[in-house]
Symmetry: C2
Subunit: 220 residues, 2 copies
DNA sequence: CAGGGTACTTACCAGATGGTCAGGATAAGT
DNA sequence: ACTTATCCTGACCATCTGGTAAGTACCCTG
């Protein structure tokens, strides 16, 4: 368990979120972030104890505080990194060559891919988008630019008549909550004893696309 | 975990949990349940402190523990009462005279009415349908009969050819998660600075009905 | 080899938390 | 008047919480 920090991990760590000095501790830092994401996303922020988190990692609690100053700081870092992951996936599509309806479809597929590959991230989103969450403003700040960009694009499409004129923000939030709701749904399915299949997810995706088409397609 | 208490206490608690002699303390008990529902549904179970809860009621923490033995006991009582409210609303429809598709619509409208009248209840559902929630099995037990009844009815309809044959449980869970997701959505809307309107809710309801029709209508 | 920065730890703590225990007040039965 | 049951409270406590302070071990640089 002690796992003496081997010396040669030095530079080979790809720092994902905020650029951080890539020393020996970079790996530990990432491991803490991973565990924290998992814990926050399942048992919640209040339900997570730094001691438990540290024990699960074979590390002392003070190591966590060394890297992230405070518990809130840790939550902030987790939110930032997760938002960065989401942003990367979505900006890629927004910058891509797909246009019009294809782009909407590509966005939806991209989000669902992330949701499937990183279910923990969805759990975090659900936890953080709670009214009293300490990280709600942080999430808003981290996701804001993406939302603004998407909204601006939609409004350009509407101006050009390629999209039906509606409240872009409302549509975006509906789509967002559908995806986050999917995470809940999967958990409820598990609780009911059913192992969620691809079918559930595919159905939900089809539903969302149908909703978007109904809201946005100028032909209807 | 002494957990002992006297036999008399145990019996008394059990009795109090189910029926509830209408003594002087009944009012206090209900007030505690109301406040607990509100607190659990917003800041969550772990985020709720018995001291704070009691202070908000102008009562000592021991009063809460007197009525509900433990914090978990309080959560259990809150879940039970909320589930009873939901059950009452839905069984009324299931026992009503509406048939076939009308009954499905009546059920959906009934659920949405409850969600609008008691948003706190939706918050509780979201909190409790979390993977690690201490009340997850309790909720399952309290809502199980209703789900079973609905599922049985759907399967009868399928046998009679009035409903397309699908996995009834899957459809029910999807509908459930849509409704609970609505609560989240409203909160996110608030966080984004938009005051949620009737329109949001109506849109979601229409969407859910469309999904159900697509899943169940034998004509399609 | 001295000095400094990084990564991590041991020791410790003040406050909050859920919970126990021993009552006190009031009303109702006998 | 005595008991009994219900409802509520003050005093107290073990435990856990996030957080501080002061090291220790290690590498890199001069």
């Amino acid at each position: 368990m002690p796992e003496a920090t081997t010396i040669r991990d030095t530079v080979r760590d790809t720092v994902r979120g905020v650029t951080r000095s890539s020393g020996r501790g970079a790996e530990t830092r990432e491991r803490i972030l991973d565990a924290a994401l998992s814990s926050f996303g399942t048992i919640g922020y209040d339900g997570t104890s730094l001691d438990d988190l540290a024990n699960g990692l074979g590390v002392r609690k003070q190591t966590i505080l060394y890297h992230f100053v405070s518990k809130r700081g840790l939550l902030g870092a987790v939110v930032d990194r997760s938002a960065a992951d989401l942003n990367a996936a979505l900006f890629e599509v927004l910058d891509g060559e797909a246009t019009d309806w294809e782009r909407v479809e590509a966005l939806v597929r991209s989000v669902f891919r992330v949701a499937l590959e990183q279910p923990l991230l969805m759990g975090l989103l659900r936890e953080v988008s709670r009214p009293g969450s300490p990280a709600a403003p942080r999430l808003k700040g981290a996701m804001g630019p993406l939302m603004d960009r998407a909204q601006a694009w939609m409004e350009r499409e509407m101006d050009a008549g390629r999209m039906r004129r509606t409240d872009a923000q409302l549509v975006l939030i509906s789509a967002y909550s559908t995806v986050v709701g999917l995470a809940t749904e999967i958990e409820v399915l598990r609780a009911a004893g059913l192992e969620p299949t691809m079918r559930t997810v595919a159905t939900r995706r089809r539903e969302l696309l149908r909703f978007l088409r109904a809201s946005l397609d100028p032909q209807r």
